[in-house]
Symmetry: C2
Subunit: 470 residues, 2 copies
């Protein structure tokens, strides 16, 4: 609850146009892209500067009011659901690209910049920002940094973390700190930059970031390889890496996923193939030509029934775009779509895909699987109906089995979506009690009053991931 | 002080052969590669397993005994000087390469493995571990991880941090945790892996690490460009990057450095050039040929008086090796050598080199400058004599001016050497009070009794970096 006195203080900071505690206004920010999670905030506030964020945080810290920083809310872990009420902090005014520095190859941005706008701004200078989460058309860079977003190009280029060079952060006590710099090397104390990346808004509020850019690759080529068995496709993934080729992209899609994407996008995908690999390589003309020729050969030797290289960039972009629509396409099938991102070492991909199918059969539910095979980052996706509570219990049990299997294979419960509220009950599977205790100690140190996005990452008690009853 | 009872407990864990509290034994580990810092430990202990480390730590935590983990002690920040006494923990028994995983491109090692042995082991499998600190022939990987070591290949390939995928760490309470995994993507909670990298042994003891390997580059070429003015050399650095070429190595050496290296190594270096750039590119044959041709052109246009590409790998290795001996060569000049690593955005290299020369003149001391120009990571090096206390005061003042200038230019007080005891008084220049407070909170959270390498990173009070009186 926000008292009328605190409300007045907050309005004094941001102006009444940027403070909204109407029912309609709050309802809009009571959920994010994650199914099954909803909780009303007490107010929605849109600061215009770092200084305003700092003033807001000080008031919230004094009055123990939770703060949930939010970009576009595209996360899939209930990371921006206002679990314990409080204030949702929007960055709609803090959405400028502040600088592109061509000498140091950096871009400095406010958190509200849309990821794709940032990518395009870099491209206009012949530079390249590789992280490309599927939501990049609407996600913000602030959200990407808080969730340490991955994407299709992660295999070769890494994830958001690998591009964050410097941050401005407002801490829970209102202090404004600056970490890192336009520096390839900086070991002045602990790596706070990377501690904040992926911390899901639970340690502080990121108000500015300087990101690394790299020279744009000269060219790229895209291959589609079709398989009549999943094992051969998975084995091909291992074989490509074993040949010491690191493609930009190495995506896997199973037959049910291909079918729904084709129904949705209608671009002539091979709906009868049991599995498809979408492989992309970039670099110099010569290196790409050579790598793609070798990749085609490896696919063919690995029992691919068809191996085709896209003839034009438009054709390649169609394929990439089709892959990116997978979630939207799957979401059309049934009322509820639960998309997961259990991740394993890439050598375990075949084993994991088989395990997912066995688990789905055992619990009599429908799971499609696609994902970043080169990273071992799979997206087993269940289409179901939350109103069917008996089925939802089986879905719950299936995902718990999937997480356990991933960890057993040396993997993790989340490769790129984050823990949020949704996967908090499973974090102990990956970290053990001692690992969680260490993380909680860090949280307590930086946010002693637990005002920074409370209810995320650390579970209360239950192993139940989806809140079935509302 | 270690009581006889505690001593018995420790000997029971490691055996009497691995516990040494003799004067001679302690003296050996009372200092590291950093001039001017020395402090006697109470004992030196060499555990044989993670379990033994955990048992030792529990005892130390109970009795508030400081622990200083130590590899080969090659650091240059007094990071392994037992500032507050206690136990020096050696990894001479924990020095095995545990696994090279060719499917997942990882190497798993114990902390005592020598860096160059690790690099060679990877090369035997056609794989590549890029970080190459100049001390790599004797430094250990555990030390590299604790200091987040850089090296000559950092410009293109990044630093140690960028290759650490998973750690086993013994925390101050004796808990053994495992962070990360053989996973390209993992966002299960805070990035503890990177929090421990570069934490200088102040948060926990690293007992095992899994590192990323990459495919070895096909070929490499090395260019030496000579200049008669420093500005032209510095400008060439910027011009190369502006052409969107990221060389593997882009080293700068000033005339005095070249002279002493040549006196030391006698390989025919151009001792009359005012500045030299050592530039290396690796990759595919075609890409390297093209980049090197363009680099030669940029150097020539940028007023280089001579531009030569090494004709054989032996010749190139001679040049690299000469560069790596810079510290040893400089150390022969005078009794005391103080090598620093103030770092700036690469666009500020020319400005920084000029400022260093101005500062040296102002304080009437002799400073040579060389370093990783592409990273903005310079090594201004003062040859002096600690017995001359009047000169040492001027040296102190000069380095303080250099740090201030680096920070003013958007840089940092240390690019790759770490803070340790030596640069702790200057950390506030970079981080401000709020930044230091945040780091101290993290330290306090994970090591409440301050037993983990105490006296490092955080300053007590003085701005004096070098303890002149001993």
């Amino acid at each position: 609850m926000i008292s009328s006195q605190v409300k007045s203080q907050l309005i004094e900071i941001v102006g009444s146009a940027n403070y909204d505690d109407s029912n309609a206004g709050r309802l809009v920010y009571s959920y994010d892209a994650t199914p099954q999670f909803q909780s009303m905030p007490d107010a929605v506030i849109a600061p215009r500067s770092t200084e305003e964020v700092s003033q807001i945080v000080k008031i919230c810290n004094t009055h123990r009011i939770p703060i949930v920083p939010r970009g576009s809310g595209t996360n899939l872990c209930a990371g921006t659901c206002p679990t314990e009420g409080g204030i949702v902090l929007l960055f709609k005014h803090m959405n400028r690209i502040l600088e592109i520095d061509e000498e140091n190859l950096t871009i400095t941005v406010q958190p509200g910049v849309i990821t794709l706008d940032l990518i395009h701004a870099a491209e206009e200078k012949g530079l390249f920002y590789p992280p490309d989460p599927s939501s990049m058309k609407i996600s913000t860079i602030g959200g990407n940094i808080n969730e340490n977003s991955g994407g299709l190009r992660g295999l070769k280029y890494g994830v958001t973390r690998d591009y964050v060079m410097a941050l401005e952060v407002v801490l829970a006590n209102g202090d404004i700190i600056r970490t890192g710099g336009k520096l390839a090397k900086d070991v002045a104390g602990y790596d706070l930059t990377r501690l904040f990346v992926g911390s899901e808004g639970t340690l502080g509020i990121i108000t500015e970031a300087t990101l690394k850019l790299i020279p744009a690759p000269e060219t790229k080529k895209t291959v589609l390889a079709l398989y009549q068995d999943i094992d051969s496709a998975a084995q091909t993934v291992s074989n490509i890496i074993a040949h010491k080729i690191i493609p930009t992209t190495l995506e896997f899609l199973d037959q049910p996923t291909i079918q729904v994407i084709e129904d949705f996008a209608k671009i002539g995908l091979p709906v009868h193939a049991k599995a498809v690999l979408l492989i992309e390589q970039d670099g110099t003309e010569e290196a790409v030509r050579r790598d793609i020729a070798l990749i085609e050969e490896i696919c063919t030797k690995g029992n691919a029934v068809s191996v085709q290289t896209a003839q034009t960039e438009a054709e390649a972009e169609n394929l990439r775009e089709a892959r990116r629509t997978a979630l939207s396409a799957l979401a059309r099938l049934k009322p509820t779509t639960i998309l997961e991102d259990a991740t394993v070492p890439r050598s375990e991909i075949a084993e994991m895909v088989k395990a997912i199918n066995t688990i789905a059969e055992k619990h009599k539910i429908s799971i499609c699987t696609f994902g970043h095979a080169g990273d071992g980052n799979l997206h087993p996706t269940c289409t179901t109906d939350v109103r069917n509570s008996e089925e939802m219990k089986r879905v719950e049990q299936a995902f718990e089995d999937i997480f356990k299997k991933a960890v057993e294979l040396g993997g993790t419960i989340t490769g790129e979506h984050g823990v949020g509220e949704m996967k908090a009950p499973y974090l102990e599977l990956k970290l053990g009690k001692a690992g969680i205790a260490a993380m909680k100690a860090v949280k307590q140190a930086l946010d002693p009053n637990s005002i920074m996005n409370p209810g995320k990452i650390f579970a209360k008690d239950s192993l139940k991931r989806v809140v079935v009853t509302k």
